[in-house]
């Protein structure tokens, strides 16, 4: 993968699409195509073989979950060679989990508003392009703040909750350590403590871990 990411942008809102393109180009990447519907998106991906496709969930003609279905189509055709970052007006944990479950690595699910914060947005693009997973902090916050009778999360310390949230957002142990100013060893200790307190099977890989944590939070 070259340093210059090649990106296709699919969004039916012209202004937003232009804004996204400007941010991506400002980051030094190339936007090979801008489209406003799912069919054109698939055509552009076939033609351009981009590194990343940035996809709005809600697009013509149905204005419901076209973006999610386009993502599956891309995954079926190109596997993990094309990373996908899905943008949504609204955060839906089910969508996040469908994405992670069916698409594995190199996928992200972000609230559209995050685009306004160029650094966060480009970071997310970079992470999915590198095969990582990005889950919007808003989803994690919503799941963590969900009120439950006899909540197992009550057993976690404040620090453990912070680590859990970052895990759920798809952060690596190193990033968690950097974010919280902790030693990687300490982060690992927190993680194993969390897993044992929540009676979760330790996940084999990082990307399985995100799904496991989200699924746990969702099912709680």
């Amino acid at each position: 993968m070259s340093d210059v990411l090649r990106i296709v942008v699919a969004d039916d809102a012209v202004l937003l699409r232009a804004g996204i393109t400007r941010i991506l180009e400002a980051a030094g990447w190339a936007v090979t195509a801008e489209v406003d519907n799912a069919d054109d998106l698939l055509a552009a991906v076939r033609r351009d073989r981009p590194d990343v496709a940035i996809v709005d969930i809600r697009m013509p003609p149905g204005h419901s979950d076209e973006g999610i279905r386009a993502t599956h189509a891309i995954r079926e055709e190109f596997g993990e060679a094309v990373a996908v970052l899905v943008l949504s007006q609204y955060l839906e944990p089910d969508f996040a989990m469908r994405l992670l479950d069916e698409s594995g690595r190199g996928v992200g699910y972000l609230l559209k508003d995050r685009i306004a914060d160029a650094a966060t947005f480009t970071d997310a693009v970079r992470r999915v392009a590198a095969g990582g997973q990005v889950i919007d902090p808003g989803i994690v916050l919503r799941l963590l703040n969900r009120r439950r009778r006899e909540d197992p999360l009550d057993a976690l310390t404040e620090r453990e909750r912070e680590v859990l949230a970052l895990m759920a957002e798809g952060r690596s142990n190193q990033t968690i350590a950097d974010t919280l100013f902790l030693a990687p060893k300490t982060v690992e200790a927190y993680i194993s403590s969390i897993f044992s307190k929540l009676a979760l099977e330790p996940a084999a890989t990082d990307h399985r871990r995100v799904l496991a944590v989200l699924a746990y939070l969702q099912a709680r």
Binding site: Y90, D94, R149
Partner: protein, 594 residues
Amino acid sequence: MHAAAPSIPASGRPGAAAGPSRATTIAMVAAAVVLGLVVEYIADSWTQPAYIPIADLGIGWLMIGCGLVAAWARPAQPAGWRLVLAGFLWFVGTFMGGMDGTIERWFGFGFGGYHDLVLAWLALAFPDRWPAWRPSRVILAVAAALYMAQTIARLVMFAPETFQVTLVDPDTAVTIVLWLDVIRGGAMAVAGIVMLVRLARAQGSERRMLAPVLLAGAVSMVSAAFTARYALTVLGFFPDLGDETVVPLQWAFNVIRVVVPLTILYGVLRLRGARSAMAGAVADVGNAPTLSALRDALATALGDRELQILAWDHGIGAFRVPDGPAVPADELDHLEQEPGRRVVHVDSGGDPLAVIVVTRAVAEDPELLQAGVSLTRLVVRNEQQAARIQDQLVDVRASRARIVEAADVERRRIERDLHDGLQQRMVALAMQLRAAEGTADRDQALRSGSAEILAILEDVRELARGIHPAVLTEAGLGAAIRAAADRSPVPAEVDVRLTGEGSPAAQATAYYVVSEALANVAKHAAAASGVWIEAEDGEGRIRVVVEDDGPGGADATGHGLAGLADRVAALDGRFSVGARRGGGTRVVAEVPVA
């Protein structure tokens, strides 16, 4: 001599009973013709002045003919056949004149005059088989007994010599027979008076129905009584009228005997006229099918000004006067026991519809009553349905007004939020950025400006969710319900079994029920330890249930819940707010998917 119970003729509906068949009619006519001619021949009437056999035959044949027509027109009505019987008995009387020792004269002497007894029976009982009124029954029984006594006395004491038995000396026998004749004549006079009294006592349609037959009967009784004149004269109680008086009288009675069958026929045929009166009632009520119009029309048709109709009121479970108070059950019982009145129940498939309170006379004309009951059933059902539709219309109008008002309130809220919130903040932001132009704090101002824009964006999102949540469009009802549950400050458990069925309007309505119910729990039942949400679809509807274990006592007419009820009702769904078993509130809504 007969069952005392008044019997109502079998249903007089057309087709319920067949009239005399063609064969019967021909046989009757032939029998009448042959019998008449044979009788006149045996009686040797042809040797007498011509008017005698002609009057004899004419009167007998007229009675039989009128009787057959009446029986054909009103098969269930016994009067026709009685008239036929009276006609045949009339011929027996041909042999009454003079005793010449022959068998036929003896027979005629014994059985003559029975046609008057049959006419008495006909008129006293009319329109039934047997008289219902006690005086009628008594006088009929007395008259019949006297006729039989007279027959036995005459047959025994005036038998032809070959088998004559002498019980008493001839003078005594004559005296007995004469006295019996006087008593029988008196009884017939009383029967005539009873008929007139019965007619005078009747009112309205009953009087109109009875008048022709009872008047004809009463006149017949006069002629029947007059046959005792000879006995009275012989016994010395009555002057011997000369031929110059008797012959015109005989002719007058012959005229009466012609008029009587025709009048009875008219009276029987007029029973159909009662049905025409009912047709008039139907026409009247048809113009304005209300209970009061029905009452007036039936009162006119049945000739009973006191007629009352009480309609069943489902709401209070009692009969009530139209637009008036309820009638307690005991008062109805009291009405039922009132002599001369009868309470007729009108049902529909076993459910009470109304009662008609009528004079007993009307109630004993089953055909007329049946028509009245049918008409009442139609009108009351119509009235009930109209009332139900009116109620629904009132509800729908109120709910429509509330929906419009709720939409207005909502629009005003959105306008206020946009104006007072977003617009102000954006104006402030624009001023802030403008002020930072060209200053050293430019970068700082841009940063805080974009942060403020994101905060504004969050507000916009909140506002939009209040109008129509994006999640409903993007991810469907289940996800939207879960999202609403996730926002609930009271721990919420969600059980969603949805296939995604349902129009956008149905899904949105189901969503708003859950979302508003959750908001109510947060507001009024914050002490609840949990709220349980169920959503399922199938069988053409979406069903959502929201239960909490809070203090309960939710007011279904409260603003939010009433709005929900209207929304659900607008889609033809069902909505209820009630108590949850074990405490708390339970909100259930069912919305048709289409």
